[in-house]
Amino acid sequence: MLRLEPRPQPSRLWTLTTPPLAVLITMIAGGALFAALGKDPVEAIATIFWQPLFGEFSFYYRPQLLIKAAPLILIAIGLSLGFRAGIWNIGAEGQYIIGALAGAGVALAFYPYESALIFPLMVLAGALGGWAWAMIPALLKLRFGTNEILVSLMLVYVAEQLLAAMALGLMKNPEGRGFPGSRNLRQYDSAHNAELIAGTGMHWGVAAALIAVILAYILLSRHSLGFHIRLAGQAPRAARFAGVHPGRLVVFCLGTAGALAGLAGMFEVAGPAGQVSIDFNVGYGFTAIIVAFLGRLHPVGIALAGLLMALTYIGGEMAQSTMGLPAAAIQLFQGMLLFFLLAVDLLTNYRIRLRQREVA
């Protein structure tokens, strides 16, 4: 019989090998799922993982990779700080929406005035918007001890209603012939988050994600605040002994996550999406939770996980259109990835042994 035995120390080898192993198992289980749906599993897996990068139409899909990965990474970096400290912000989707609304709001307020200052102002507004939305669960937690998981999650639905109200009301395009949705910011030069290098998908959001990865890495490995974040998550009592103020950590972690999610939303609305519309948000805020864990809450890991997740998004779309796979199958596939990761994660702290023969 199999038996789990705790390791004296977390295994370094398994910490590094579990994510690729989880991807591999997901491919196998996902392939079985696709086979059960009557599709060729090898072709389906190849469509998801290979075609977008090296297939016939990769020139179109490769830039998409960065465009999709940037918001995921940006949000996941913010979330990972909180997750490490044991602060569970599940409402990044809402903070993402509010950031987009705040950024777009600034742009629409200045339209059609052109200035080089508008875009920086939008960046600031986006970050502030997301930060403010995240401060609601933070302050409620500090003042009344509410659970940040519930409050932040519920605020997602509030933000979605606000988004719909804006798209249909205040921010609706006056020249849009009654269609819901704002003006297209891509046609407003001062506000357009354009590609920095044409044809690569590289926009300001990608740059911001890269900067966030580097700063988060420095914070966690070199700065005492990062040390306190890790300490608070691993041993809350020891953290208090070390002089950590739990309340300040809550404010910092939720605030940073909110600001980064807000930034992601702002870059999205000013670039790839272009306008505030009812269905502007596509679940980046939730997928980023998977990305954060898939990347082991480590900044570099998150960057890689974000790219991988973006790949399954794009490949999934391809598989939908070329092979007729249902959208739910792709979501299931992404869910499996997190499931298997958490499952094989066990190997970092435990080893599996065959039960020794009983001695009479």
Binding site: R222, F227, Q234, A235, R237, A238, F241, V359
Partner: protein, 505 residues
């Protein structure tokens, strides 16, 4: 002699990387109080777990009254007449005594009948206990009685007791011993695990000494000196800490009327705690576990804040300062719970050095961590306090309790505190390491630091403290010079024995 009650032949049990028991053999006879002696990690726990059916031996055999005995699980052991009282109680606070007893039985009788049986047994053996009381309200001594009575209800032939006196006042120890003597007089054998040599000498008829998993000798405790037994346990002679008396200096720490509500439902509220601690002095605070020890440490370390004037360091009010501000002023602390409080289990020793030494050892610069300096400091603690570990990158949880304790105490001592507060500094630490830790505290005091030592080990406090005070239900007694105190007086300061009067019936 007749057939031994329990006979053990060559029991061996290995864990990955360590042989916990290596061919251990000995006999226990009916009506005998048999001591199992050894340092932490000597293999005592593994051995009794095998006898109690919790762990299977790799090789070797046991026989009970001549018949082969190989319990597959604890209930098989209990059925054969082997009962055990664990060091850590497995009681539910929210249940009554009778309900807790019922939970540990194979086929509990109806509650009313059980309550009557509990009363009967508790009276016979001088262990007063009301079956209807809520377990959460009981003292540690009373909780232990619940465990003992649970065992006695099953008419055991062999009763195993793991460090039973570590949570008792001296008076409660007396009650326990008279109960145990009654049991042996009735023919019950007792396997008594302890490292308190004096107790073993008063109670036990025979002793088996384990060292590194091997049986290194048996002796008759009454005929052997405590020192000889200690040396057999350690395998070498060691120096008991020496205390050079010295005049106390100026007041370093003053606490006046410290009252704090209990931090949780089963915590203890502090009531009007006052104390004065002078430079060069060691003040010992005794008391049974759970009488406010953790709470006193938290209030002094800065984990819980008070009114500014309640706590004064060198005359300055510090009641509202956080732990690091207090550290900057020279007030350091080492909590009791090593894993999760004094140290983060998953983190390396370097990171754990940073945990409390960042301020005083300047391990950060403008918020950025100087990892090189932190590692150097961790290495210094490891070297000067003889912490056995592969290196400073080892996770704290990979260290044995004693080694981690040396690290935790060393980390604070090497920061040159002006005032050091320690809680249970040698808890679960082997004799040699405990002596080293006590010596370090004494040396620190000799250099002029003021030390507040909270401990449940009275021998330790009598050995190192200049003055002694006791915590009882969140109140601190007046401090008195240790040289003038007798054990009886200390017991009374600790709140006396719970229900002692009844016990003499």
């Amino acid at each position: 002699m007749t057939t031994p009650l329990l006979s053990i032949h060559g029991l061996t049990r290995a864990y990955p990387g360590v042989i916990a028991n290596d061919a251990v053999s000995f006999d226990i006879h009916e009506g005998e109080a048999h001591a199992l002696l050894g340092e932490n990690g000597a293999g005592k726990s593994t051995l009794v777990k095998m006898i109690y059916g919790l762990v299977k031996p790799d090789s070797g055999s046991m026989s009970l009254l001549g018949a082969p005995y190989a319990p597959a699980n604890p209930s098989a052991a209990r059925a054969a007449g082997v009962a055990m009282v664990f060091q850590h109680f497995s009681l539910f606070d929210a249940l009554s005594v009778a309900e807790n007893v019922a939970l540990g039985m194979e086929a509990p009788p109806p509650m009313r009948q059980l309550a009557a049986r509990i009363r009967e047994v508790s009276q016979t053996y001088g262990l007063p206990l009301d079956p209807a009381r809520l377990t959460g309200d009981l003292s540690a001594g009373e909780r232990q009685r619940v465990e003992i009575i649970r065992c006695l209800l099953q008419d055991p032939r062999l009763l195993i007791m793991d460090e039973p006196t570590s949570v008792l006042t001296p008076q409660e120890v007396k009650i326990l011993f008279s109960t145990l003597r009654k049991l042996t007089a009735e023919g019950v054998a007792i396997l008594y695990i302890s490292h308190k040599l004096d107790e073993i000498r008063t109670l036990c008829d025979a002793a088996t000494i384990l060292r590194h998993g091997r049986n290194v000798g048996t002796c008759v405790p009454q005929e052997t000196s405590a020192r000889e037994m200690a040396e057999a346990m350690v395998g070498a002679s060691f120096n008991a800490p020496r205390r050079a008396g010295q005049a106390a200096g100026a007041v370093a720490l003053e606490v006046r009327d410290l009252s704090l509500p209990a931090p949780s439902a089963f915590g203890t509220a502090l009531r009007d705690v006052s104390l004065t601690l002078r430079q060069g002095e060691i003040l010992g605070i005794g008391g049974v576990a759970g009488n406010g020890q953790d709470e006193v440490l938290a209030a002094l370390s800065g984990e819980r804040l008070t009114e500014p004037d309640t706590i004064r360091l060198d005359g300055a009010p510090i009641g509202r300062l956080d732990p690091n501000a207090r550290r900057a002023l020279g007030l350091l602390a080492a909590p009791e719970e090593r894993l999760g409080h004094a140290a983060a289990p998953e983190m390396s020793l370097t990171e754990n050095a940073l945990l409390s030494a960042a301020t005083r050892e300047r391990l950060t610069r403008r918020g950025f961590i100087r990892w090189g300096a932190a590692r150097a400091f961790a290495n210094r603690v490891i070297a000067e306090f003889d912490v056995r570990t592969p290196g400073p990158e080892t996770a704290a949880r990979a260290l044995s309790g004693g080694n981690l304790q040396k690290f935790v105490i060393g980390r604070e001592v090497l920061q040159r505190p002006r005032v050091l507060v320690v809680n249970q500094p040698t808890w679960g630490v082997d004799a040699a390491a405990a002596a080293a830790i006590r010596q370090a505290l004494i040396d620190l005091a000799a250099q002029g630091a003021a030390i507040l030592c909270i401990s449940q080990d009275l021998d330790e406090l009598l050995e190192i403290a200049d003055r002694f005070a006791a915590l009882n239900e969140g109140r601190l007694s007046e401090a008195r010079p240790t040289t003038s105190l007798s054990l009886d007086e200390i017991g009374l300061m600790m709140g006396g024995a719970h229900g002692m009067e009844v016990a003499h019936v």
